[in-house]
Symmetry: C2
């Protein structure tokens, strides 16, 4: 029988965090693409646009005027999907028509006063400030919400509606689906192996060295074995850490370093400001803060949609929606590509 | 306290088929959209393009020449994600690095010889032929595959790389994630209620009448209570039916009728050829054909991405990817909008 080669032979891989599978068919990268081409992002974004509601001194939808901020700037989302005071739907009338209450808070945080800058082009000190704010918001909203989801949507192709560098925070009184799945799976692993899943995974990848993208003293970035998106990555701390606010000062500096290096590689891959959704997952908060959470390990996911070039993305449609996610290159191939890219941003090199 | 109004007050709804939740924040429909606008589909598609590999008499990537077909046309996908003969990855070396074998077959079926036609503009007899072919393929590939996924990706915005009307079939030796979840959840419901979940759901929606889009003697189309995509629908047979091949001749005619009416409404919503991914789910096949499957009910899902217009889609990014799906209008609002649309296709009315 032929010897199994993951880059040639389709197979499925298990995602132990989500508890599901991904179909890996790397031979499919060879097929030609005649489908939709995305518009590459605009190149001549103005540094300051008084009509952009995220800019310093601009007026927002609700009439409020932004301060003349010169670092980060946090404010309440003017169109929040989660509000603090929605009435409870009450008991459900039928097991197939179940509703439950959803309360929460949505905030927006600008990373920088300039619209024409992105995280990889910001200084380490500026990125460190963003990390400190992420930690603060998690503490603040975590006092009375079970889940505080910090996330960044980057790039118009990825649903971001404003080019100004910013992230969002949606805090909820309930554990969202992804959080519940990760909680259950990490708990099960912990009870079986007496060790947190992602701490073991960190050690495993440090040893194997085939899926590493960037690393430093305190952090490791890998394309996880079970990655779904073509250049998906997982950011893992060395130390067992439950939540963002628990990071030490030197771990935060190291996170700024690894973030800048990762995002420069991302931009260098197709020489384009790389679109993605990213977000942080840590142990639950609110009334779950003091529950048994030692199976949790803090981590960030990056989910970037591009597959072949700045204009060709992976569509998660059809078989993916109705049956199972499928990817066209192996995690090892993606990691190697990213690993071999320079860490100096292509825009800087060219000056 | 204020009275709960689902169209005003955010809440979560339970999806009993998948076993997860969706956040419904209908008040959010009011926010302005300044993000990406999609290109509407091309209007002047040639009826026959000798260079399009899906056309009659065209030459495909592998050098084969298509027959001069005048109805449907089935062939093997030239870039299959699943092939019959991939070697087994063998035992996994670590619980966090688990792989398993994936074998299968990928086929493509053209619906019609013309490139410039779509299902809603085809005759009932032509749609009936497509349904008969779906059933045949399910029987054929179902003899030695556990899961036969029939699906259609429609529209470039939805990842479809060829405008010629066609669907795909990916058959696998494993149960994909979505199939496993639906199997488990239907099984659990059945053991609790001694009745198939989707048969009960059919009766419930027939009685409530608030989420119905179209109906006839044998079929019901609803925006399910737990819909995630703005205009998502679920197609349900009246009778308890396990799989497509089990449909009677009159049920197939009725399915052609309801499909044409649904798809005309979809196209009429934004007066555009409506993009979507759709697919059929029925009881497992292969070595699972004779297993206890009475908890299963045949159904089709339609997952269309458009939200506000022909050019503004819902982006399932950020919070959706990292935490939980969120929708901007209630299932009842979407159903009412679709229900009130004419069933005559807008292109025909205007002639
Ligand atoms: O096979 P196609 O139409 O070229 O490709 C499309 O459908 C496939 C199956 O749903 C997906 O994996 C691809 O991402 C999508 O672009
Ligand atoms: O809030 P934004 O950036 O306008 O909107 C974007 O992010 C949200 C949260 O991930 C999503 O629900 C929207 O679909 C997306 O377009």
């Amino acid at each position: 029988a032929e010897k199994f080669d993951p880059a040639e032979h389709q197979h499925v891989r298990y995602n132990p965090l989500k508890g599901d599978w991904v179909l890996v068919s790397a031979h499919r990268m060879k097929r030609p693409w005649s489908g939709q081409e995305e518009k590459p992002p605009e190149e001549d974004i103005p540094r300051h646009d008084p009509k952009n509601p995220l800019c310093p001194r601009a007026t927002r939808a609700n009439g409020k005027v932004n301060p003349d901020y010169d670092s980060t700037f946090l404010f309440d989302n003017d169109f929040p999907a989660l509000q603090p005071d929605a009435p409870d739907p009450g008991p459900s009338e039928h097991p197939l028509l179940q509703a439950a209450s959803a309360r929460g808070k949505c905030q927006v945080m600008c990373f920088h006063p300039w619209t024409d800058i992105t995280l990889p082009l910001m200084s380490l000190a500026e990125i460190r400030t963003v990390i400190d704010r992420w930690a603060e918001i998690t503490t603040d909203l975590g006092t009375n919400h079970r889940w505080v989801q910090v996330f960044e949507n980057k790039g118009a192709v990825n649903g971001c509606s404003n080019p100004h560098p910013h992230c969002q925070v949606w805090a909820s009184n309930f554990m969202p689906n992804e959080a519940t799945a990760e909680d259950n799976n990490q708990k099960e692993y912990f009870s079986k192996h007496q060790s947190p899943m992602l701490v073991d995974y960190y050690n495993l990848e440090k040893e194997k060295r085939v899926r590493i993208v960037v690393e430093n003293e305190d952090w490791l970035v890998v394309v996880p074995y079970w990655a779904v998106w073509p250049y998906e990555t997982l950011v893992l701390p060395r130390r067992h850490v439950l939540r963002l606010p628990d990071l030490t000062s030197s771990e935060r500096d190291a996170l700024a370093d690894i973030t800048k290096r990762l995002l420069c590689k991302y931009d260098n891959l197709f020489e384009v400001s790389f679109p993605y959704s990213m977000g942080w997952h840590g142990a639950p908060t609110g009334d779950l803060t003091d529950a048994e959470n030692s199976h949790w390990q803090l981590h960030a996911h990056y989910y970037p949609p591009l597959l072949r070039s700045a204009t060709v993305k992976k569509f998660m449609v059809g078989f993916e929606m109705l049956a199972q996610a499928q990817r066209d290159l192996t995690a090892e191939q993606a990691a190697e590509k990213l690993r071999n890219l320079p860490e100096l941003h292509y825009k800087i090199k060219r000056q």
